[in-house]
């Protein structure tokens, strides 16, 4: 009888652990690769621009991987709602390779990715929906 209870607890604990692991897993949303190998005089050609439909109440996680072996550039991400900047991975003094954006309004947002002025770069940005 005692063995049954131990088995039950082990099974119950394991189930909880597995459930929790799945529950916290982020859902992959999109991957963006941006490689800038030469600087153009036209600044629009030195950036990556995409429009994404984001949903209210969802938190989006951005993970930046900068390939700094060949190029020095670190990807600067801007999430724009019209002319309004609503999220970025750069502040006055810090740079973040991971950041989250909680969407408060369903709609189309522009995602603008660029490198520091005059720098070349090669970056991959993975976007996840946080559960």
């Amino acid at each position: 009888m005692k063995k049954k209870w131990i088995l039950f607890y082990v099974f119950f604990g394991l189930s909880l652990f597995v459930f929790k692991s799945f529950a916290q897993k982020d859902i992959f949303f999109k991957q963006i690769e941006f490689k800038l190998e030469e600087i153009s005089k036209n600044s629009y050609e030195n950036e990556y621009f995409i429009t994404l439909n984001l949903n209210k109440g969802t938190t989006y996680k951005f993970v930046v991987t900068n390939n700094n072996i060949k190029y020095p550039g670190k990807a600067i991400i801007q999430i724009l709602d019209g002319n309004n900047l609503v999220g970025t991975n750069v502040t006055s003094s810090n740079y973040y390779e991971k950041f989250q954006f909680k969407c408060n309004k369903t709609g189309f947002y522009d995602l603008l990715i660029k490198f520091k002025e005059g720098e070349l770069g090669d970056s991959v940005i993975d976007i996840y929906m946080v559960q």
């Binding site: 005089k41 036209n42 629009y44 050609e45 950036e47 990556y48 621009f49 995409i50 429009t51 724009l80 019209g82 002319n83 309004n84 900047l85 609503v86 999220g87 970025t88 750069v90 502040t91 006055s92 189309f108 522009d110 603008l112 002025e117 005059g118």
Partner: protein
């Protein structure tokens, strides 16, 4: 009877008074007032231009206060969010130039003034003709100091804007929008597409029919543009089958 006849006249006076107040607020150092005024002036469209062109001549700096999280060249702090204005609007002529460009969908060059030092000479050489440049300086552009280069871009932008105004004082905003979309200037195209997508300010004459007839053919072309900021926005508009982008303008 007299009241009926005087009605439109009184309305004109009231509209003018409204515009005068908006211009006064637009010159203010309080961003809250400036921001409200720019909406009023943009809604007035081409009617606001005479007063804005007068402001181009007032070469003074009115440092903005109450800017909150506004992101612009004069901002003291960056909070990581806020409205982005790519013009040095502490300078009154630039502030006027910013709104003139917004209303006319032109690119006179005002947004280049504050750009990074390394880009200034390129802006001067590629955006302005040598005959225009020679009207303001007699020495090579490369020999100018950074401040002189910025000053030159400002003078040239004002000059360009005033010249445009001489020939286009009776232009309408819908034609300006169409002209921007069919121009070869990326900035004008981006601004026009951005306006169509996100602005809530109506343009007189911009109906569904006018859009389909005048703007749609050009937007279809822009959807295939190599520059993503242009093609992505054009595609977004083309995919909007229910014309939500017009509805948000009250059209």
């Amino acid at each position: 009877m007299l009241v009926l006849l005087a009605g439109p006249f009184i309305q004109t006076i009231l509209c003018q008074a409204n515009l005068d107040q908006a211009i006064k607020n637009f010159e203010s150092n309080d961003w809250v007032l400036v921001s409200e005024a720019r909406t009023t002036l943009e809604e007035a469209g081409m009617d606001a231009l005479p007063a804005l062109f007068s402001l181009l001549k007032e070469d003074k700096i009115v440092k903005l206060t109450n800017t909150g999280d506004l992101i612009y060249p004069g901002a003291v702090r960056f909070y990581g969010h806020g409205e982005i204005i790519d013009y040095d609007i502490d300078q009154l002529p630039v502030r006027a130039g910013w709104l003139i460009e917004k209303i006319t969908f032109q690119n006179f060059g005002f947004s280049y003034i504050h750009d990074l030092e390394i880009n200034l000479v390129n802006h001067i050489k590629y955006h302005f003709s040598s005959s225009e440049i020679e009207q303001f300086i007699s020495k090579p552009v490369n020999s100018l100091s950074i401040d002189e280069q910025r000053e030159l871009i400002k003078d040239l932008s004002v000059y360009n804007a005033q010249n445009w105004w001489k020939d286009n004082a009776s232009a309408d905003r819908l034609d300006c929008l169409e002209s921007a979309l069919s121009s070869k200037d990326d900035k004008r195209q981006v601004d026009a597409l951005q306006y169509l997508r996100t602005s809530t300010v109506p343009v007189e004459g911009l109906t569904k029919e006018a859009y389909n007839k005048k703007l749609l053919p050009q937007i279809k072309k822009l959807a295939g543009d190599q520059t993503k900021r242009i093609s992505e926005q054009a595609k977004y508009i083309l995919n909007d089958k229910t014309y939500e982008f017009l509805k948000i303008k009250g059209l």
